[in-house]
């Protein structure tokens, strides 16, 4: 049967990835920033799966699972920090975190 060309999958992943990036750039709310990071990571996960299907390997999926755990861990640490941040500044706007410069 007709398979989807690998390029398409990668392009899709690429678009997702860019969405994530844009999210990181544009969002002030740190929660959304974290979510955008998730998007980015999962986009690369998708890319791995697409690549894996190209070669008919399993490594890609392995990698994807790893990325999931990785993302989870990141969010865990991130949320911890967000709580601290909210405690201290009563806000989740990242622009308050700009005391160090120069």
């Amino acid at each position: 049967m007709e398979t989807i060309p690998v390029e398409h999958g990668l392009i899709l992943a690429g678009i997702l990835f860019c969405l994530g990036l844009i999210g990181v750039l544009t969002r002030r709310n740190i929660v959304f920033v974290l979510m955008s990071l998730e998007v980015m990571l999962n986009a690369s996960g998708l890319a791995f799966i697409v690549a894996a299907t190209r070669w008919g390997h399993a490594e890609g999926q392995v990698m994807f699972l790893m990325i999931l755990t990785l993302a989870a861990a990141e969010v865990a640490v991130g949320l911890g920090l967000i709580i601290q941040m909210f405690r201290r500044y009563q806000t989740v706007d990242i622009s308050v975190l700009s005391e160090m410069k120069g």
Binding site: L21, V24, L25, T26, R28, I94, S95, L97, S98, E99, M100, K101, G102
Partner: protein, 617 residues
């Protein structure tokens, strides 16, 4: 005996060391004898050596103390070379030198830095002897610079007055200009002929260069540069009148009798080289002529007794150069000697005058001093006669020979001779102008003269010099061997008319100055009334504006450059680098805004940039 020649510079040197190492603290009773005695000793030695040498009939005698330095084929030694010329020079230096030292012990008696004075004087004599005895140009250069240094130290002897310091520096720097040209000459000679030993050099030059060859001309010109510097000839004559700032014995010793004649000695020493470059030799003559005329005019306008004598010195050395230029070598050397006698006499006498009048130097504040200052009067009379070449005084014979030598030159000879004669005419005028104004007429003395300073050690030298100035003309100068093949001409017939003119002209000069300054038949005021005369007078008084010229052309620009670049331009370039990097820092630090979103943006931006670049490349 002859190999004791090394003693000559040694005695003064020891004297110098003795006086310096004691920190100039020696009392006069000791410093005086040391200072004058050391010169006396070397005069004694010089006399003995001279007798033996002349007696021996040898052409020359060489004594090598040690090899100074030996680098490849360049190995000048500390070697003394004795021949007729250096014999004359060493006798003049030690003899006249001794008299002047003796005189100075009296003249400087009241000066607090008595010992310092004599240490310089001794060092000077030592250096001067090195100059005339050195057998190679490097050793000669050593003496050459040494006398320059002492001249500097002595002109600036009374250092508290900045003017003296200025005069001293001027003297040193101006002569240094000449010295440098001479040094370059040395380099050229060595590069071309591979030695700096004077005799070898002359032979090599004769052997390798034909007459008028470019190298000969260049070398001769460069040496001439040194000579005009030291001997205060055009265009470097400006320093000598200012040099009168030093104590009068200095003017007598350094700036009349010895150092200033070093240029004459140099040219006479290297006369073969100059004969190989006839054009340069003729230039020497013209320089001498121009100098003697210009300074003659200037001398007529001066009012400072020592400046008058200074300009007359310049003009007399002009005669010597004229003589050298026309190849009357021995005549020049002869005049060098006689001039040493009578000019030393004049200076010392003026010293007495000045001291007696409590350091008054303006001749218009003198007058009618012949009674008050008999010794000075006598000295001045004899000295002035000799200076104006009054028949059968020493100056007469020497100047006569020079003028005859000039006349003997084909072509321009007559003109040179005529110039010389005119010079003699002015010599008569300015010399006796000085004489009459100082010793006759009514007295303009401000603080009255109690007694003439003197004592045997001041008057003794004066008397001896008077005798020499009178009969010095009969001394025979043993330099035939030196100039044997170089002598321009043998004594050929000269018409009596010529002789008559040469005798008459100075007398006319004297007569004119008598009418102006003695009998007041003519009045200077009337002469001065015309604007032209005044401007001329100003022009001559200022030494023909050479100082002004040099200030405008050289000194001022140098000072200007120095001033504008005190901060050192080059450094500002490095300062610029610093400023730039600080500016760059200031700009780039702005990127560290501290805002997370901006940081993220740079991250993404960077990615985009490198990816696009990478794909495009």
């Amino acid at each position: 005996m002859l190999e004791l020649i090394w003693l000559l510079p040694t005695f003064p040197l020891l004297g110098f060391l003795a006086l310096v190492l004691t920190g100039g603290t020696l009392p006069k009773q000791i410093a005086g004898p040391i200072g004058a005695g050391s010169i006396g000793l070397s005069f004694a030695v010089a006399a003995l050596i001279a007798m033996e040498f002349v007696g021996s009939g040898e052409d020359y005698f060489v004594y090598e103390a040690w090899t100074w330095m030996s680098v490849g084929n360049f190995s000048p030694g500390v070697t003394f070379y004795l021949d007729g010329l250096s014999t004359v020079m060493m006798l003049v230096i030690t003899g006249v030198g001794f008299l002047i030292h003796l005189y100075a012990t009296g003249y400087m008696a009241d000066d607090p830095s008595f010992a310092r004075f004599f240490s310089y004087m001794n060092l000077f004599v030592a250096a001067m002897l090195m100059l005339v005895l050195g057998d190679n140009l490097v050793l000669l250069y050593l003496g050459w610079e040494g006398v320059g240094l002492c001249s500097y130290l002595l002109i600036g002897f009374w250092y508290t007055n900045p003017a003296n310091g200025y005069a001293a520096r001027k003297a040193f720097v101006v002569t240094r200009v000449g010295d440098t040209s001479m040094a370059i000459g040395l380099f050229l000679l060595f590069a071309q002929l591979g030695t700096l030993n004077i005799q070898d050099l002359m032979h090599a030059a004769e052997g390798e260069w034909e007459i008028g060859s470019g190298y000969a001309v260049a070398a001769a010109l460069l040496l001439l540069g040194g000579a005009v510097g030291k001997s205060a000839q055009l265009p470097l004559q400006t320093w000598l009148p200012d040099a009168m700032a030093g104590p009068t014995p200095i003017s007598a010793l350094i700036h009349a009798a010895t150092m200033v004649t070093a240029g004459v000695y140099l040219i006479a020493r290297t006369h073969i080289l100059f004969e190989l470059a006839p054009s340069v030799q003729l230039l020497v003559a013209w320089i001498g002529l121009a100098t003697l005329l210009i300074s003659g005019f200037t001398a007529m306008t001066q009012s400072d007794i020592k400046r008058v004598l200074a300009y007359s010195t310049v003009s007399q050395i002009g005669y010597m150069f004229l003589g050298l230029g026309v190849g009357a070598w021995s005549a020049s050397v002869f005049h060098l000697m006689t001039h040493a006698f009578f000019k030393a006499l004049l200076f010392l006498a003026s010293g007495t005058v000045i001291l007696s009048l409590h350091h008054e130097q303006n001749i218009f504040k003198m007058g009618a001093l012949r009674k008050a200052l008999p010794v000075s009067f006598a000295s001045f009379l004899i000295g002035s006669l000799a200076l104006t070449a009054f028949p059968f005084t020493s100056g007469y014979f020497s100047k006569d020979e020079i003028l005859l030598g000039a006349l003997a030159v084909e072509g321009v000879g007559t003109w040179l001779w005529l110039g010389g004669v005119i010079g003699a005419f002015f010599t008569g005028i300015y010399t006796f102008r000085l004489f009459f104004i100082v010793f006759f007429g009514e007295s303009n003395v401000e603080h009255h003269v109690d007694r003439e300073v003197g004592g045997w050690h001041m008057n003794g030298p004066l008397i001896i010099l008077m005798i020499l100035a009178l009969v010095g003309g009969f001394i025979h100068v043993p330099v035939e061997a030196v100039f044997s093949h170089g002598e321009a001409h043998d004594e050929h017939h000269v018409s009596g008319l010529i002789h008559g003119i040469m005798i008459a002209v100075p007398l006319i000069g004297i007569g004119i100055s008598y009418l102006f300054f003695m009998s007041k038949t003519f009045s200077v005021e009337k002469l001065m009334s015309s604007g032209l005369a005044q401007s001329l007078h100003k022009f001559w008084l200022g030494g023909w504006g050479f100082d002004t010229l040099y200030n405008a052309l050289i000194v001022a620009p140098f000072l200007f450059l120095a001033r504008i670049n005190r901060k050192d331009l080059v450094d500002s370039f490095y300062a610029l680098i610093v400023t730039l990097s600080q500016a760059a820092n200031g700009m780039i630090v702005k990127t560290q805004t501290g805002s997370l979103r901006w940081y993220a943006l740079t991250l993404v931006g960077g990615l985009v940039i490198i990816v696009t670049l990478g794909v495009l490349l």
